[in-house]
């Protein structure tokens, strides 16, 4: 089917014959050595390319200033479920709109109105993940 493979060791073992101790030991050593050698080369390649991409082409965007903001007071009563002036300048307005929509939906259920005063990034000491990443990880590992 495929072109004859380049013979690594010139087919040193005959398939139909039983093995002696020397052949068994040689095969094991050859096998482990080749597997480790091939994968170590891949480690070296990836380490080099990783350094290159971290240095050059993969510069992270300037870190966003995430100064702590006042905690979200989403339960503060207000006349309308509309956002007050977004407290965190630079926050994604779409995200805030989604949060507002969720709060408005919650208010519609119990007949109350809420106002979103601020959005604050919470950094959890333990995992170092934001809440969305945390939710994603929990979702992926839930069966266990």
């Amino acid at each position: 089917m495929y072109s004859t493979p380049v013979i690594l060791a010139d087919k040193v073992l005959h398939g139909t014959e039983k093995l002696n101790g020397t052949e068994i030991l040689s095969m094991t050593l050859i096998g482990l050595s080749v597997v480790f050698f091939a994968l170590i080369i891949l480690v070296v390649y990836l380490s080099c390319s990783g350094v290159f991409f971290k240095k050059g082409g993969n510069k992270p965007a300037a870190p966003k200033k995430t100064a702590p903001q006042p905690a979200a007071k989403s339960t503060a009563p207000a006349k309308a479920a509309v956002p007050a002036k977004p407290a965190a300048s630079g926050e994604d307005e779409e995200v805030i709109a989604v949060i507002m929509a969720a709060i408005a939906a919650m208010g519609a259920a119990d007949g109350k109105q809420y106002q979103l005063r601020s959005v604050k990034q919470v950094t959890r000491g333990g995992s170092g993940r934001n809440i969305w990443a945390q939710a994603g990880v929990l979702d992926a590992t839930r069966p266990f």
Binding site: P5, V6, T16, L19, I30, G31, S49, F53, T141
Partner: protein, 403 residues
């Protein structure tokens, strides 16, 4: 009137002697009966217990079909080598449906195509972000080579020992690929035996691995929280499959069909420009090949090939291979734990046996049992996908050395 009666009884007798029922109760028919019952057990495991149902169900049904006497779906005698070659003309002329489907196994078409689909579904980012994972993927292949030692000492031939050992790679298509190439037919061990053992133990990974993981690691080691992986750029993810194909194929050319297809599938995925091809490769094509592969491999489990002492040996050595692979990965993980000053959780080492993604999920599960806030899943995915590449390389070595 008596002539009609004679004709009737003779015809009826002829029909009975040609029927499968007669063969089932004739000499040796009990073996077929046992195999049919065994196929029911595997169907039960696949349907009721969810053990690798996508492959175990077609395999078990192939086992049922091939052991129905006189059905003529598969003929093992057609696959015995004559002067070192299969007589494919005879297969096309005399073969049944499953003989024809088995051509794709014998010609090593199905396993690489399965790898194409797997490549489309695999995210190598955890491996690219943490290249040292490759070492754990390599260490876990110790299960293959140490099982080769045990099989050799037990008196199996080189081809049989290689085919049994590859079960330790915990990768079904690779096991089928290697055993098809090495086993020449006519022997006591077939590709079907190897596939059955491989898929049975892959389904039992959640039972086999945790006791070994707990026995070989301390609570302190299992509690290690690893640093979050860096983000991998799209360019890196695109270059990776091309580089791996070139490096592995140049080093171990026999691994090129498996690794090449795996990486081709991954390139399709990462390129982001071949949505239609990805859709076909990981859905329709994968499903078709899975059906063909499963049912035709199941067909090779003829009663004579299964009900013998050697198949018992295959099953025993299969579980030894899985256990040794897990242990080797863990031991290397412990070495990395020491070398890095406790930054690597040794539990991710057991994911170095392929069995994607189940082995990685077991690492996550055992880690979370020690500390519920510890999330090892993505860290374990690195060795897990490295194990796929590692077992393909190990397969290439076996094929290159054993003639």
């Amino acid at each position: 009137m008596s002539g009609v009666l004679d004709f009737f009884t003779n015809t009826l007798g002829g029909l009975w002697s040609d029927s499968g029922m007669h063969a089932l109760f004739a000499e040796g028919g009990w073996k077929n009966l046992i195999m049919i019952l065994v196929s029911f057990v595997f169907m039960y495991l696949a349907i009721a217990k969810g053990f690798e149902p996508l492959l175990l169900l077609p395999i078990s049904f192939g086992m049922l079909l091939t052991n129905l006497p006189m059905a003529g779906l598969y003929h093992p005698d057609l696959w015995v080598l004559v002067d070192g070659h299969v007589n494919y003309g005879e297969v096309l002329k005399e073969g049944g449906l499953l003989d024809i489907l088995y051509l794709g196994v014998k010609l090593q078409i199905y396993p690489p195509l399965i790898f194409l689909g797997i490549g489309c579904m695999t995210d190598f980012s955890p491996l690219i972000a943490n290249p040292k994972s490759f070492l754990l993927g390599a260490a876990a292949q110790g299960g293959i080579f140490f099982t080769f030692v045990v099989a050799g000492l037990l008196g199996f031939t080189a081809a049989e020992a290689g085919s049994i050992a590859i079960i330790g790679g915990a990768d079904g298509p690779t096991a089928i690929y290697v055993s098809t190439r090495l086993l020449t037919g006519g022997g006591a061990i077939t590709t079907g035996n190897i596939a059955l053992a491989a898929y049975t133990y892959m389904a039992l990974v959640p039972i086999i691995q945790p006791p070994i993981m707990k026995a070989l690691t301390s609570k302190k080691e299992r509690s290690v929280k690893m640093e979050q992986l860096r983000t991998v750029s799209k360019t890196e993810r695109i270059i990776f499959p091309i580089a791996v194909t070139i490096i592995v194929s140049l080093l171990v050319p026999s691994a090129a069909p498996l690794v090449g297809m795996l990486m081709f599938g991954n390139l399709l995925k990462e390129s982001g420009v071949a949505a239609r091809l990805i859709d076909t490769a990981q859905n329709a094509l994968m499903n078709i090949i899975t059906i063909f592969l499963g049912i035709s491999v199941g067909a090779t489990t003829k009663a004579d090939q299964i009900i013998n002492i050697k198949f018992g040996g295959v099953m025993l050595l299969g579980v030894i291979a899985f256990s040794l692979g897990t242990a080797c990965g863990l031991i290397f993980g412990k070495i990395m734990y020491k070398v890095t000053g406790g930054k690597v959780n040794p539990l991710i080492g057991s994911a170095g046996v392929s069995a994607v993604p189940m082995a990685a999920r077991i690492s996550q599960k055992v880690g979370a049992e020690t500390d519920p806030t510890n999330f090892l899943l993505m860290h374990a995915m690195g060795p897990n996908v490295a194990g796929v590449i590692g077992s393909a390389v190990a397969a290439g070595v076996l094929l290159s050395v054993i003639g």
